[in-house]
Symmetry: C2
Amino acid sequence: MRDNPRDTVRGRNDVSLADSRPRPDTPVRGRPRSEAVERAILEGVIELLEEGVPLAELSIERIARTAGVGKATIYRRWSGKEELFVDVIRAAEPPEPELPGTSMRDDLLVLLENLRQRGLASRSSALLHNVHAQMKTNPRIWAAYHENVIAPRRNLVLNVLRRGQRDGELRPDVDVELANDLFVGPILVRSVLRPDAELPEGLAEDIVDTVLAGLRPVSSTVSQR
Amino acid sequence: MRDNPRDTVRGRNDVSLADSRPRPDTPVRGRPRSEAVERAILEGVIELLEEGVPLAELSIERIARTAGVGKATIYRRWSGKEELFVDVIRAAEPPEPELPGTSMRDDLLVLLENLRQRGLASRSSALLHNVHAQMKTNPRIWAAYHENVIAPRRNLVLNVLRRGQRDGELRPDVDVELANDLFVGPILVRSVLRPDAELPEGLAEDIVDTVLAGLRPVSSTVSQR
DNA sequence: GCATTTCGATACGGTACCGTCTCGTATCTT
DNA sequence: AAGATACGAGACGGTACCGTATCGAAATGC
């Protein structure tokens, strides 16, 4: 797909639009691109980020150096660091959790526990930090992260909440979007904004039950505002 | 004879390093340092960050260029970009909100509304994004931000919650730290992690009342399906 | 008046990376 | 076998920034 229209040595008689043609046949001629090289590059970037190297300090030369490949091999696949990083995001996406489906509370427990585990993992954290850093400057990176990581998980929670609302486990008058943020907010805040905070064992259950029950003292009447 | 490089560094006040040095003869000789120049540099950095320029792309040369000062003028005050950024954080800190003190709910409304407003402001957001990006690499920047911005606000909320717990507005068995995250989490998640999300007008009130009341249907004793 | 220091400006050598290109070799299709 | 392409390695000219040094002018204390 990302073929190079720059036949170097021979005639450069080509004119204006290089690659506007859809070119359906992938170039099967010549040596094919190594899939192993591709993985080595992506994995190398992930490892560097995990080690705490910020994306801003990653140069193509350094990536090539640590992956043990030539610079041209990288430029053959991606046009630059940001393009590459989009694929890194895709490659690092963890699988979605399986839901028991027995009740809204049970599903929420699984989802929040999964979120807590991800908060404890350096890989997710490193990725999120660097995505976050590039968000303002490079909306494409943010879009890729949102599409590949955030949106799927968010939809999972929203669907669980909607079903819970249908089944009477959730007050019908609450906004499910707000409810979602009430559940995931505490974990996200601790893992992203206060990395020194702890994510203790029973946190997911504490959050679910506390949010469901409310913080007002039990004897208080509902008429209070 | 020119100066040795050590006496140029004298940053004003330090965060983590003790540096209780009682001003080694603030050089009253010669031309004094311009306070206006100092402000111009700090404000220039803040404006650049507000415009979406990431901290990683800020070079001393560029800062000097946009502030209209010489490079040496910057190096005379700070030893590098990170040192400078610590002072930028301090300079951009907004004032703490005033609390009515009439009830826990009223105080929480003010605090969360204040937080919502900050989420809407580009200045806070730009700062937070860049602090966040540097967090892993440069713990000093994170420490400065935590000490100057996060901790004071957090303590404000925690005190309000503790008082509410004493006064019977908050269940005595809930962890105030968890309660804090339940209240601030939704706003922080929306402003930091989902910048496309909205922060609508009545959000603060919605959060406070929903968290206090709980998400479980009122008369229901059913917790499982 | 004079010493001292800061000011903006800019020159300086050094470093790192950019993206392209070339080389010799390896691997695939025809 | 011939042709095409990918591979690692690295040369290449160009750009931006680093941190220091120097300049003449300005601002202060003595």
